[in-house]
Amino acid sequence: MEIRKAAFELCKSIGSSKEKEALKETFLKISNTSLGLQASSLRLQAFSYLLLHQRRNEISLKPTALKIEELEAKDLESLERFHLLIVELNRRCVSPLTSAKPNCTANVLSPYSAYNLQPLKAKVRSDLITDAELKKFVTCFHSHPQLRTAIDTALSIPATFSSEHYRARVLELDEQIRQVGSKRVPDFITYAVDNELPSSMNRIALRHFGAILGLRASLSILNQLIFMKLFHDKLLSIDSTNTIKLGAYHFGTGTLTVVYQHGGLLVLVDPGDIIVVKHDLLGDYKTYFCRVDTLAPGIPIIMPGEPRYAELREIDDSLNPLARLFSSV
């Protein structure tokens, strides 16, 4: 089974348990607080709330920052338990690689690795997903093509390359990808492809890091899907009923651009969200799963009924939004 399908099944298994409703209530309750408003810009699910909550005192000291209130113990525990579940899921997904290359730790591969979160009080993960469902998904995720690539290219990385080196390099490449935007291929990829042989150590190392970035991005998509499942049963879609004009499909990055009519359910779309695009963009009518990378103009400015521009990164069958970017490496 493809990983994307397995991810949808995993989300479906969340169903409508008591815990889900309580968690949803917690998120909704804090979404309009200063913590919620600031956390939403980080786009890192429960992690954003926990991180800002831990740093609330230092943030509140800044003259321009909104004061962050302390969370109720019950809400904090809900968030922590949910995050522990996600961390556990992510850790298990990448275990073949972390076993094969111990310095490439679960933290290196974590979508949250850019930030340091202090140890959490909660010790038991949420029961939102049963262990059986978790196992089923993890088994499927182990067929991720980038896991194989990362393991096969691991020899290009010297044993002295510590986990901290790994983390720093991954974050550096991630930042470079982010800096050039959704429609451009970063120079470090173009340079390597244009000037170095595929068998060169540099290209192999780049494939290795490309695979790590792909795995990390896949986990980020998985986490976001689970997070979104708490609020919606269906992914929001851009289709013939709200598309004003499709732009180009950028083959190098797997990004498509669109101007759509803002309104209705799409009020809720934020950068980082996963949506479906149903269109005959490349001749055939097809459903594209995409991550929203850019939206303009932003929510406070735009009103329902007005046009909105989106850059959407296509997510492949393995939940990887960076597959096209590294496909030529």
Binding site: T243, T257, P304, G305, P307, Y309
Partner: protein
């Protein structure tokens, strides 16, 4: 998009363009370009019709209102018959105008209350014209059309219509075609002022009554309050708009006839209006004379404007149909 033709005298220019089809060589060229084959009889019919229609239009221009509607109706119907033959390579089969005229049922003397009933689908001229110059909608059997409905559909009569028949409103709304750019994507859409829509009542219902509303645009999302309602095209820019002589764009609204939403094209509405006025002046000279001489309601101003509009716009619309593009005549002043 319209093709702009620079001219100091659009009326004369449009007849120059139409008159080329009164010459066999141009008719044959048209036939070759459109894969048609003309018999000598049809060719003569086209050439003769176009010459005759121009003569009727010229005569109508210099005639008093007492008889000008009839002359203009003859000119219009002969022009449509000739150009229909040009576009189909067939001589007309019609044996009847395809319309009947009815006086108002009460005591009204308003021209607006006279009625036209399209009849004889198989051998009526109106339906024959509608088959070529309309969107194929079948008019007979759908009920009567008041002159008010016809006048309400003519963009250039907008001000006179609303002054004369208050609180009646026209059956079209002015629209702006806006081109915008977001990110790398340039897109075009229609924009209607909310104040205009509000005059008709529920803005959403008004927009829904626009011709092709569901087919041409993605579902409307109107934000209230706002200055405009934006209508985004489903695919390409729709071609259902109607235009004033000066080129102002309007979105036509459907009429509900016999449970059906219908909107004849401008040419068909104009020929129906001309038929009504021509019939009235020809067969009811007492009523027409009284109206022309003693109208105190101001309706005469609207009728004169209607006549003047038909005189200028009718040949233009026929030319658009022949050429398959909208021609906009403009007197442009060079800024060099």
């Amino acid at each position: 998009m319209a093709t702009t033709i620079r001219s100091e005298d659009p009326n004369s220019e449009q007849w120059t363009l139409l008159s080329q089809y009164s010459y066999p060589i141009h008719i044959r060229r048209y036939a070759t370009a459109h894969g048609l084959s003309f018999s000598d009889d049809t060719l003569s019919y086209v050439a003769g019709s176009i010459r005759q229609s121009e003569a009727y239009f010229t005569a109508a221009k210099s005639s008093p209102l007492d008889i000008s509607p009839l002359l203009l109706y003859y000119g219009a119907t002969i022009l449509l018959a000739g150009v229909r033959s040009l576009m189909t390579a067939q001589t007309p089969a019609a044996k009847h105008h395809g319309m009947r005229f009815f006086l108002p049922s009460g005591t009204s003397t308003r021209i607006a209350d006279f009625r036209i009933r399209p009849v004889r689908e198989s051998d009526g001229a109106l339906q024959e014209f509608a088959n070529v110059f309309g969107d194929g909608c079948v008019l007979p059997g759908l009920g009567d059309w008041t002159m008010l409905e016809i006048f309400s559909s003519i963009p250039d009569l907008r001000d006179e219509f609303e002054r004369c028949y208050e609180p009646e409103l026209t059956n079209f709304v002015p629209v702006e075609t806006v081109t915008d750019k977001l990110g790398e994507i340039e897109f075009t859409y229609h924009r209607v002022r909310m104040n205009t829509l509000k005059r008709y009542g529920d803005p959403f219902k008004t927009l829904s009554s626009i011709v092709g509303a569901r087919v041409n645009y993605i579902p409307f999302r109107i934000n209230i309050p706002s200055e405009h309602a934006n209508l985004y095209f489903r695919e390409k820019q729709p071609s259902d708009s109607i235009y004033s002589i000066s080129g102002q764009e309007y979105l036509p609204m459907n009429f509900e006839k016999n449970g059906q939403n219908i909107r004849p094209t401008q040419l068909i509405l104009l020929v129906m209006g001309l038929f009504g006025l021509g019939f009235l002046s020809r067969y009811y000279p007492d009523r027409w004379n009284a109206f022309v001489r003693t109208d105190e309601t101001g309706e005469r101003l609207l009728i004169e404007k209607f006549m003047s509009n038909c005189h200028r716009q009718f040949p233009n619309l026929v030319l658009d149909a022949v050429r398959g593009e909208r021609l906009q005549f403009a007197y442009l002043v060079s800024t060099d």
